[in-house]
Symmetry: C2
Subunit: 282 residues, 2 copies
């Protein structure tokens, strides 16, 4: 029987849809929104796997992904996979002076350094998708408007700037969600959510020292306020959750934050997965 | 002469436009896009002050704000101010079963927990603004579509859910940018960008230990990859940059990360400003 995979929609044309098709060509694939829904339905066994974005080089981490993962029972990260996002800027071949630039919000943000330099007076218009931007320029014959989209989507438009100038080395990292624990490959990463039961100065030392002592490299850290005036620290580290030194370091963090072991949920493991070294792929 | 204030547009109806009007009612106010452009033009003396969003309780920090601040010469954060964002869900009074929900991307994300529970099969449609969502429902008589917007914008629509259920305690923090250093008030915060010249395990201990030693509370930390395979740590701490213990802690961090003092830009101060205790305002 085919595996059932949910991915972030609304359609298979989204970047998440494209990467899901490329890694699960034979699966039964269903577009779902929003991110939290994909997790909830995978948690509730309606799907075997889910595919959602975790991070973009320019936009940073998707907090909805991190915060939703925290609420799940059995769903965890089982794989990471990344995709180059090659934006171009295009306008009608007979375009006038450009004073409007249209794209999806994230696309405009990813290209903001270039746009501020080359089009400092342009009006930036966020629309629902990069395709929508192209469609409107063509249908409404917008001669003073350019769109940010893939070169393929900009078909029949004149390319004003390519990826290398507009938004170099742009990449999005996606995660595959599943319910089963992965095996260690020898080159893995682990995502943790650490919730100190008490807030006090020095928490970051309590958290970081054990990882330093066991020479575990931390790839990412972010603190997020929770609803109860406390904080959750999201950490991505080099190593698998079954590696002895990772276990030792996590136990020491728990000891530091909760010496009397009164709390159950000080550390939640959001997943261990093979390291794709995605930032080196550009 | 009136002071000139730039704020994130496109119009004065944006949340940034509203807060700018309320704190600078007599200023000459100009909507500018994107965030980086407001900073660049304030840095270039075209405006006296700039107002931009820094953080939303649900969406987290605006990385474009953090990353752009890093590139400025003289512009820094001089004040923080926050605003309650009270979303409601509304539809036409004679609406049918709702299977589409329209709003700005961030609005959909802020309400995702409620939407997944109450409308698990709805199609979420991101449009350019919350007003655009309301306009389309009214003009196109969309009977199966609801919009997320302020109660005021949802005028003449039926309210299906209010802020307390849809998206409780939602707040956005804005920063005022200026070029002059602030005076300490006795209850301040400071935003830092720390760029370790060498990447190695244990960096986080080198950074966090001095703050712990001087009992300086860290309100926020995030690591962001930079273009050269290094990292920048963004930190917000309790205290003013002119406080003796903050100076001592920063010097110790510099010593730890760059013992021979070979680098100039290990710590960049992004600003010190009075603590508004914005999270307690709900």
């Amino acid at each position: 029987m085919d595996i059932k995979v949910a991915y972030l929609g609304p359609t298979e044309k989204t970047y998440t849809g494209q990467i899901t098709k490329s890694i699960f060509p034979d699966a039964e694939r269903t577009p779902i929104q929003p991110i939290r829904n994909i997790m909830m339905q995978t948690d509730a066994l309606k799907f075997d796997l889910g595919v959602i974005p975790l991070e973009n080089i320019y936009n940073g981490h998707v907090n909805e992904t991190l915060d939703s993962l925290l609420d799940m029972q059995s769903v965890r990260i089982v794989r990471e996979v990344s995709m180059k996002i090659a934006h171009c800027l295009g306008a009608l071949p007979n375009h006038a002076q450009i004073y409007k630039i249209m794209s999806k919000d994230q696309g405009l943000e990813q290209c903001s350094r270039y746009l501020c330099k080359q089009y400092p007076n342009a009006n930036l218009i966020a629309v629902s998708s990069t395709d929508e931007a192209v469609r409107r320029i063509k249908e409404e014959r917008l001669l003073n408007t350019a769109a940010i989209a893939s070169e393929e989507s900009l078909d029949k438009l004149e390319i004003l700037a390519r990826e290398d100038k507009l938004c170099p080395n742009n990449r999005t990292r996606f995660i595959v969600l599943g319910r089963e624990e992965t095996q260690a490959t020898g080159d893995d990463k682990t995502f943790l959510a650490i919730h100190p039961p008490i807030d006090k100065p020095g928490i970051l030392v309590d958290i970081s020292k054990p990882f330093s002592r066991y020479k575990i490299n931390l790839e990412y850290i972010q603190s997020r306020p929770d609803a109860k005036k406390g904080y959750t620290f999201y950490i991505e580290l080099d190593g698998h959750q079954l590696d002895k030194k990772v276990i030792k370091a996590m136990n020491k963090v728990k000891d530091n934050l909760d010496p009397k072991h009164k709390h159950q949920d000080t550390i939640k493991i959001l997943g261990s997965y093979a390291n794709s070294h995605w930032k080196d792929e550009n």
